[in-house]
C-alpha cells in the first residue's frame, strides 16, 4: 500500500489498511496508514474486542509515495503477547495478549465521501496490491487472494456504502491483484 498525501479532507481521517476479523463483526485486528486533519500522519495498529479492550497504536509514518507491506498475524497458541501481531515492512509493531478466532481477511480504505476526492488526487492515487491471506495459521497454510472491501466514511463518521476500492490499475488496465482507492465522484 502506498502512502499518499492528504487530499480534500476536513472531517476525520483518510487511510488504508489490512485486517483480520472475527465472526461477531466487532472483533478486528488491523494495520495500515492514516492521516488525520492537521497533517497528522501515522502508521497505525488497531485492535478491537468489545469484551475486553480496544486501542489504537500510532507510530511514525513512512514516506509519502512509498510502498509498504502491512501484515497482521494470528497465533492460535495463546495466551501470549503475540496472539495477534502487527508488522509494517517486516518490523514488529505490536502484539496483543487478547484473543478471538478470526475467520475473515480484508483490505480496506476509508476516504472522505463520494462528493470529494480520493486520497492523493486523480494523478497520485493510493491503492493496494498483492492482497493475500494465509489460513489456517501456522505451517501448512497456503496463500490465496482476498477481495478488497467497498466502503467510504461520510459526514458524522457514519458508514456509507460506496466504491472506495476498484480493481483497476495502471489507470485503466483491469486486473485482479491491484486496487486503487477510488471515489465514485472521480472519473477514470
Amino acid at each position: 500500500m502506498p502512502e499518499v498525501p492528504e487530499a480534500e479532507w476536513g472531517l476525520w481521517a483518510t487511510g488504508g489498511w489490512t485486517r483480520i476479523c472475527g465472526p461477531a463483526g466487532n472483533d478486528w485486528a488491523q494495520v495500515g496508514w492514516i492521516e488525520f486533519p492537521g497533517s497528522a500522519r501515522y502508521t497505525f495498529v488497531e485492535f478491537n474486542d468489545p469484551d475486553v479492550s480496544g486501542w489504537d497504536n500510532y507510530f511514525s509514518p513512512y514516506a509519502i509515495n512509498s510502498a509498504i507491506t502491512y501484515e497482521v498475524t494470528y497465533n492460535p497458541s495463546c495466551p501470549k503477547a503475540t496472539c495477534f501481531a502487527w508488522y509494517a515492512n517486516g518490523t514488529w509493531l505490536s502484539g496483543s495478549k487478547y484473543s478471538w478466532t478470526p475467520n475473515q481477511a480484508q483490505s480496506d480504505a476509508e476516504i472522505h465521501d463520494q462528493a470529494s476526492q480520493m486520497p492523493g488526487g486523480y494523478y497520485a492515487p493510493s491503492g493496494a496490491s498483492n492482497l493475500n491471506a494465509d489460513a489456517p495459521a501456522g505451517s501448512g497454510g497456503s496463500w490465496f487472494p482476498t477481495v478488497a472491501c467497498d466502503r467510504t466514511i461520510g459526514p458524522g463518521r457514519s458508514q456509507i456504502p460506496g466504491p472506495s476500492w476498484d480493481n483497476v490499475s495502471n489507470y485503466g488496465t483491469y486486473d485482479n491483484t491491484s486496487y486503487l482507492d477510488w471515489d465514485s465522484a472521480c472519473p477514470y
Binding site: W55, D56, E110
Partner: protein, 198 residues
C-alpha cells in the same frame, strides 16, 4: 479565557484637564510628563495589556496552537503527574508502564513539546510522568516520558471496523498517551484507548 487583571501603578482613569505645550513649556519634570500625559498613559496601558496577554498565552498554556506547531519546539510548563486511573487505563492496552523516579536526561518540558509536535495544532498535554515502558519494540523496557495528551478535535478510533459490523460507529476512545524516549527525546509511539475508569 478571562481577561488578565494587571496592575501597572498608573491611575486607571484620567479626568483632569491639562494643557501640554511640548514646544515651549518644559517646566515639568520628565517623570510628570510620562505619568500625566493622557496620550502616553494610554500608550502605556495598551503596551502593558498586550505584554500581559502575550505572557499568558506563552506561559500559561500547554497547547499547540497555530499552523506551525507541529514542527516547532514549544515552551511548556510542568503538567500534573499521571493519575492511577490513567496508568491503569494505559496498562489495559498492548503496552505496560510502571512509574519510576530514575534520572532522565530529557526534561519533561522537552518531552511534552515532542509529544505535541505529533498532534494537530490546538492539541494539549494534561499530565506527564516518567515511566518504564514495555511494548513489542522494547520488550526489556525503555525509560520514557508518558505524556497524557488531548488531540485537537477529540479522541478517535482509526477505524469503524469491517463492513456489516454490528457496531456501526467507531469504538469509543477517551484517552491518549504519547511516549517520548527519556534518553534521546525521540517520540516513540502513541496509544489511544477507552476506559470506564476515566
Amino acid at each position: 479565557m478571562t481577561t488578565p487583571r494587571i496592575s501597572t501603578g498608573i491611575p486607571p482613569a484620567h479626568t483632569e484637564t491639562e494643557s501640554w505645550d511640548l514646544g515651549g513649556k518644559m517646566t515639568h519634570a520628565p517623570w510628570r510628563f510620562i505619568t500625566q500625559s493622557p496620550r502616553i498613559r494610554r500608550a502605556i496601558w495598551v503596551l502593558a495589556v498586550t505584554l500581559a496577554m502575550a505572557a499568558v498565552v506563552s506561559c500559561g498554556s500547554y497547547s499547540a496552537s497555530g499552523n506551525t506547531a507541529r514542527n516547532e519546539s514549544q515552551t511548556t510548563a510542568p503538567v500534573p503527574a499521571l493519575s492511577a486511573a490513567f496508568i491503569s487505563a494505559v496498562n489495559s492496552t498492548d503496552v505496560q508502564i510502571v512509574t519510576t523516579s530514575a534520572a532522565a536526561p530529557v526534561t519533561e518540558q522537552s518531552a511534552v513539546a515532542a509529544a505535541l509536535a505529533q498532534l494537530p495544532p490546538g492539541s494539549s498535554a494534561t499530565a506527564a510522568g516518567l515511566v518504564m515502558l514495555t511494548n513489542a519494540q522494547h520488550p526489556a523496557g525503555v525509560l520514557a516520558w508518558a505524556i497524557e495528551t488531548s488531540p485537537a478535535g477529540g479522541f478517535h478510533a482509526a477505524s469503524g471496523g469491517p463492513p456489516g459490523a454490528a457496531q456501526q460507529s467507531p469504538p469509543p476512545r477517551n484517552f491518549r498517551v504519547d511516549f517520548v524516549d527519556a534518553s534521546t527525546g525521540a517520540w516513540l509511539e502513541a496509544v489511544e484507548g477507552y476506559s470506564t475508569g476515566l
